[in-house]
């Protein structure tokens, strides 16, 4: 069961070929502005490096930080309109009201509040104003906005308002892409709407990016199935990923942490992944990332994603270093590191140049940084070390010392000693931990439903069977499925006993466990 994991980061595109848990070959290439050629190159190189072992590859699993970087760096985002079906309730806190102003001004393609929505018990809150939705749709089309997010009160329980509104929008404005909040999220109107708006603003980028992946894998002639990794370290088929870029938001860090765990053979540790643009610090418990409590902010926007609890700081290999006065970031040269960094012949001093000048790594042409004064290099490095150590300290939740796994292309920027850390382990193949993690990703199944007049245990058992069925339908091998998350929430004030149960399971792709070389 061989597979290739690919990680498309802001700066590097990495690939790793795994046979079971064993890394056969790994390569590191630069991300290209068109994405496709970078993925194609990485695939070609890793296959070439593996030589005769590169036979019978059944799956290619791609993880990307493309979408989250787009939000964090506020680029490649499309404008998105919001139609919220909630009036006369929820009038003061309009869509985008809790977004950072700079991001809202880029994305906000118009806000439309209309009457309608549902109560907790399925009764209509107010008759839906279909005329107002039609007017909004025409205005959105006239404004040239290409995507809309539709939200409605209690849509996770009763989605009919959103579904009807989507139908009206598709009739009135067929070219406008529709994201319904009920397909993305849970109870919590503001946060669910935020996620839907982010999804809508990313839809153009998602289509382009997914198509680029499909093309690159097709061109490789491997005949392998393409999967895209998601926030929780599991994968979906490419066609499912195209419509929901937000589900692939945090896959990079999750993959990196899971990959590092496998490579280092350590299951409990802090992980610091220094990429091109950011350093992401997380905590690994039994091989899985610790999840964030409740609300997770992405680019300053509140969401209800289940994501690894990560602290991202603007320190990466491509981080711009300023002189007089000394500054570290927050800007990064990103995927242009190969052109803009000093050691690669560019004019910009980056963290990579500092690492080369300090003798931590040998990369590019070291003579290009020979002119940097030793005290400047030392001061810049000290600042980078202090930023990382502080972030690691913030993410630690208990007092006992634990090892820290240093991963990512910029792993050498991590200090060798930090408070609360027993040892800093530079992970072998660390530069491609993300790709290894992507290759390990499993298929998930989820269910989130309301059960009436049932015991908690019975409701959970039923939800569990439904989740397992969903995972099998998505291509998981039944024998390998295990439950990773169970949540139940009783709903107050409903007639009879009502419980909302959510179960998530994961399993190996059946294609991988069954495939035997011919």
């Amino acid at each position: 069961m061989k597979r290739i994991g690919i990680d498309v980061g802001g700066t590097n595109t990495d690939a790793a070929l795994l046979d079971g848990d064993k890394v056969i070959a790994a390569v590191k290439t630069f991300t290209t502005s068109d994405v496709t050629s970078g993925v194609r190159t990485a695939l070609k190189e890793v296959v070439a490096k593996a030589g005769d072992a590169a036979q019978d590859i059944v799956a290619v699993m791609i993880g990307t930080t493309h979408f989250t970087n787009a939000v964090v760096q506020r680029r490649d985002l499309g404008r998105a309109a919001a139609i919220r079906v909630s009036l006369p309730a929820s009038a003061s806190l309009v869509p985008f009201c809790d977004w950072p102003k700079d991001l809202a001004s880029k994305v906000n393609g118009g806000v439309y509040l209309v009457e309608g929505g549902h109560e907790y018990d399925g009764r209509p809150l107010y008759p839906m104003d279909e005329q107002a939705i039609a007017r909004a749709a025409r205005q959105i089309a006239q404004d040239g906005v290409k995507a809309v997010a539709i939200s409605a009160t209690f849509s996770p329980l009763t989605a009919t308002c959103e579904e009807r509104a989507a139908e009206i929008v598709r009739n009135e404005a067929p070219d406008v892409h529709v994201t319904m909040s009920s397909t993305l999220g849970r109870i919590g109107l503001l946060e669910r709407e935020n996620v839907a708006l982010m999804n809508a603003s990313l839809i153009g980028l998602a289509r382009e990016t997914t198509q680029a992946f499909v093309d690159a894998v097709a061109d490789s002639g491997l005949g392998a199935q393409l999967y895209i990794t998601q926030n929780d370290g599991t994968v979906v088929r490419a066609d499912a990923a195209r419509e929901y870029p937000v589900f692939s938001f945090a896959s990079g860090p999750t993959n990196s942490m899971r990959g590092a765990a496998l490579l280092a053979g350590v299951e409990n540790a802090m992980v610091c992944d220094v990429g091109g643009t950011t350093a992401d610090i997380g905590c690994l418990i039994n091989g899985f990332p610790r999840e964030a409590n409740n609300v997770v902010e992405v680019g300053g926007v509140r969401t209800l994603f289940r994501m690894p609890d990560l602290l991202s700081i603007a320190v990466g290999g491509g981080t711009k270093i300023g002189r007089d006065p000394l500054t570290v970031g927050p800007e990064s040269v990103g995927y242009r590191l190969a052109q803009e960094a000093r050691v690669f012949g560019g004019a910009q001093i980056t963290a990579t140049d500092i690492a080369v000048a300090a003798g931590l790594i040998s990369l590019g042409d070291a003579s290009k940084v020979a002119d940097l004064p030793a005290d400047f290099v030392a001061a810049a490095l000290a600042r980078i070390h202090a930023d990382i150590a502080e972030a690691v300290d913030r993410m630690k939740t208990d007092a006992t010392e634990v090892p820290l796994l240093a991963v990512g292309g910029g792993a050498r920027l991590i200090p060798q000693e930090m408070p609360g850390i027993s040892e800093v382990i530079q992970v072998e193949h660390s530069g491609v931990a993300n790709a290894v993690g992507a290759a390990m990703a499993q298929i998930s199944g989820e269910t989130d439903r309301i059960y009436r007049d049932m015991d908690r245990d019975d409701a959970i058992a039923e939800a569990r069977s439904a989740a397992i069925a969903a995972a099998i339908a998505a291509g998981a091998d039944e024998k390998t499925i295990k439950v990773i998350d169970v949540e139940d929430l009783p709903l107050s004030y409903l007639p009879g006993r009502a419980i909302r149960a959510r179960v998530r399971v994961v399993g190996e792709a059946a294609a991988l466990t069954e495939a035997v070389p011919a």
Partner: protein, 373 residues
């Protein structure tokens, strides 16, 4: 009656800054003891109101004239519904206007029914819209689930009239009720009917009643708690310690949530959370029971803290309050006890809000009594 040297408004009134409001939201959530709803939406509304140039004045309760008329405001209903039907200042204002029309008299000030949770910030929205000062007091010093669980109910003050508004054109006035429990039953029924969320104006209070029976300076207390937590977070010092020292609290347990069970009966969220000890508490287990708010906590099977002592579950890292509805498996939490307002430690107080009021057959014993001996 209080004998007071007359003070100038500059000594008794102060304008709250936007930072004060931020701190209030943090402190109110901690004092919510798991209930009262996350103040986030009300904070968002306050940010929008402050951005639009509105402000809130906080007044010393002792500066109230005896015959001043004070509106006691709250949002009522299920927190889950509040996550879908969002907080709106204009909606919060409606029952106050209804009450003024009903009484034929304008209010002089507003105050919070409960400082804990979203209701701690709720009257601020109304004050920002109307210009009425907010009295630095409430009737619980925390959050409690029912109408009879207030300092004014324990004191036997009048429980009516009550006004209630719906987002549609429905208005409810309860001119009279036989007791606080009847007021609770009737108003709860009406609230459920209009979607389990309603804005209310409870029985108005005179200045004299507030001064004698209110839980005084609870708004300042919440702001001070918030200021200390935010400061600790900014300085990367322990926010839990900051809460303990600002509110004379006790750290009872630190651990990880390993199981949560919830059920709803008679409209209330009941259940329990099991917490496995970490660090100094490794090998021990705490079970915290709740009915909307945290009611009783057992350490290795023994009840060690119970209502009316405040039982606060805080995020160990951030110091943020955690609601009974947002508790999750795997959360790292610290369990703290904060002292109860004196009114609830009386015989009548224990009867109204002691463990038996929540269905626990336990004799009330304050965790603070024990620690003093």
């Amino acid at each position: 009656m209080n004998t007071l040297v007359q003070r100038s408004p500059s000594q008794t009134h102060r304008t709250l800054t936007a930072d004060d409001i931020e701190a209030l939201a943090v402190g109110a959530w901690i004092l919510g003891t798991g209930g009262g709803g996350d103040p986030y939406q009300k904070l968002l509304n306050m940010r929008l109101l402050y951005d639009a140039g509105r402000q809130v004045t906080l007044m010393d309760p002792l500066a109230l004239d005896d015959d001043a008329l004070v509106a006691v405001l709250s949002n009522m209903g299920a927190p889950l519904v509040g996550q879908e039907r969002l907080s709106d200042p204009e909606f919060a204002l409606k029952p106050l206007r209804m009450m003024e029309e009903y009484l034929g008299r304008k209010f002089d000030a507003v105050m919070s029914l409960e400082i804990g949770g979203g209701n701690g910030v709720h009257p601020m929205m109304v004050a920002a819209l109307t210009g009425y000062p907010v009295v630095d007091a409430d009737t619980m010093g925390r959050a409690y689930p029912e109408a009879q669980m207030t300092s004014v109910a324990v004191a036997g003050l009048r429980c009516y009239p009550l006004t209630m508004a719906d987002i549609r054109d429905n208005e409810v006035i309860i001119p009279r009720a036989a007791s606080w429990r009847w007021m609770e039953r009737i108003s709860r029924k009406a609230c459920t009917e209009i979607g389990s969320i309603a804005a209310t104006c409870k029985a108005p209070r005179s200045g004299a009643e507030v001064k004698q029976h209110g839980v005084l300076y609870s708004v300042s207390k919440a702001i001070n708690l918030g200021v200390n937590v935010l400061k600790a977070r900014a300085e990367h010092s322990d926010p839990i310690e900051a809460v303990l020292s600002a509110a004379n609290g006790l750290r009872l347990f630190t651990g990880k949530v390993v199981d949560i069970e919830r059920r709803t009966t008679e409209g209330f969220l009941r259940g329990q959370a099991r917490i496995e000890g970490l660090n100094d508490f490794a090998g021990q287990e705490m079970v915290v029971h709740f009915q909307n708010e945290f009611s009783v906590a057992y350490l290795d099977g023994e009840p060690i803290v119970m209502t009316p002592d405040l039982i606060c579950l805080l995020d160990t890292v951030s110091g943020d309050g955690i609601g009974t509805d947002s508790l999750r498996f795997g959360q790292r939490v610290s369990v703290l006890a904060l002292p109860a307002p004196a009114v609830f430690l009386s015989e009548k107080g224990i009867a109204a809000v002691g463990p038996r009021a929540f269905g626990f057959d336990l004799e009330f014993k304050s965790v603070f009594e024990e620690s003093n001996t």
